[in-house]
Amino acid sequence: MSPLPSPYEAPESYDLVLDTFREDLGFWLDEARRARGPVLEVTCGTGRVLLHLLENGIDADGVDLFTPMLDRLRSKARSKGLEARAYAADMRDFTTPRRYGRVFIPFNGFAHCEAPEDQLACLRCCRDHLEPDGALVVDMSFPGARYWTGPEGIPVLEMEVPHPQTGRPVRMFDTRRKDRVGQWQHSVVEIVELGAEGQPDRVQRFETRQRWVYRFELELLFREAGFARCEILGSWERRPLENDTDQMLAFAWRT
């Protein structure tokens, strides 16, 4: 079986489902306002977070590996009368002309770094782009016991949203394989657009991998990458990290 495309090759379909996610936007805007200096979003994709920042007057740039995602970001920005400065580059090795008060890696974007060397290269590169008093902020789901013992090999309905034009349901299914020791997940993602009779009108399949990190592991990565200090919270409401079902919001300061 030939490999399926990455969901990042199909930005319209990606947006159909995931552009509706808004729970984290308040956090990122608040964090951007705390920054002294501009903000850089790494793995900015089609701009779900970046456009929200720009719309609110934040001076923000973006980096993403996938040109189709960035093309869509730019066209969305234009239609809103905004200009997005976004660079097509690898998160492990990018260069932008400015230095930032905050670098953001939202929405499990850091999970695309798989080996420790990838993770460290990315963190070092982000650190190099920070002002001396700047901070990197990483948002990663905690890989909890219930996650690891959850279903594998069967499609699980992850999201259902109405199609923006037709109002009919669009469903996203995820069929996962997991490696508890290797800390990775392989996903076959299916985006199903339903027709007027409830039948699947259009089915698209993608595959992607994610590499999860634990709390102390992430702290050691920050330390190894040269960050001076770090703190890990448990939610976008800035609650402490307490449960393995929490969202990890990790802050790492350059100095």
Binding site: A145, T149, V181, Y214, R215, L220, L221, L241, D244, D246
Partner: protein, 253 residues
């Protein structure tokens, strides 16, 4: 009710762990084949150290608990053996010589419950290695199914016959997991004698910290080790499952 350390009664400790033997051939063969002397950290009452001595290893022992060391010394004297035994903390000890091999059997590293403790211990052990020397230790891997299944439940974890009187000895554990901070607090009850009419009951408590595979690599790197390999058991199979025993071999340089 206050809980004693599990090391308060070394003779009872020996009874409880008398059946644990699968790690002994692994550590004994490493010690016997080591180039240079060997240090066993957390040697306790000598479950691994004594067979290593008997196999001809030049092995010293370090332990934090003086009662365990005194018990070990009685056992080695009775066997006509005289190892160098030192009381010390694995995070901060000084031995008069350097070693070709440092071992830390039986999950003793899991007593290091913070990252700083882990790093201090690894650095201190590394400093005691000769160039080319290596460190060997094992830990349980966190099995996610048991983290969920055994939470807060009292369960029978060990059952042995007392070597002197033949009577039953049963160990009951209640484990409480902190899955974010990677710690398990175990409350233990050791019941000697028949069920319903025990002759003695002993309580103990301890706190252990587990470590994930990539986290361990980062710890070894931060402590200055240059190379390492992981295995999933004492037969040196690869580490693949969360039910495996994580066996770590790390080289000073």
């Amino acid at each position: 009710m206050p809980y004693e350390t599990p090391y308060a009664d070394p003779a009872l400790y020996d009874v409880v762990y008398s059946k644990i033997q699968e790690d002994i051939p692994f550590y004994v063969s490493l010690a016997a084949a080591a180039r240079g002397p060997v240090l066993e950290v957390g040697c306790g009452t000598g479950r691994v150290l004594i067979p290593s001595l008997q196999a001809g290893a030049d092995i010293d022992g370090l332990d934090l608990d003086p009662g365990m060391l005194a018990h070990l010394q009685r056992k080695t004297r009775a066997l006509g053996l005289e190892p160098r035994l030192v009381r010390g903390d694995m995070r901060d000890f000084t031995m008069p010589r350097r070693y070709g091999l440092v071992t830390l059997p039986f999950r003793t590293f899991m007593h290091m419950v913070t990252t700083d403790d882990q790093l201090r211990a690894l650095r201190c052990m590394r400093e005691h290695l000769e160039p080319g020397g290596s460190l060997a230790f094992n830990l349980f891997y966190p099995s996610f199914d048991s983290l969920l299944a055994h939470e807060g439940q009292r369960r029978l974890s060990i059952e042995v016959a007392h070597p002197e009187n033949g009577g039953p000895v049963a160990v009951y554990d209640i484990s409480r997991y902190d899955r974010v901070n990677q710690q398990v607090r175990v409350e233990r009850e050791i019941v000697e004698g028949p069920e319903g009419a025990p002759t003695r009951m002993t309580r103990a408590g301890f706190l252990l910290r587990w470590t994930y595979r990539f986290e361990m690599e980062l710890l070894l790197r931060a402590a200055g080790f240059l190379r390492w390999t992981f295995h999933g058991g004492f037969d040196r199979r690869p580490l693949e499952k969360d039910t495996d025993e994580m066996l770590v071999l790390a080289w000073k340089d």
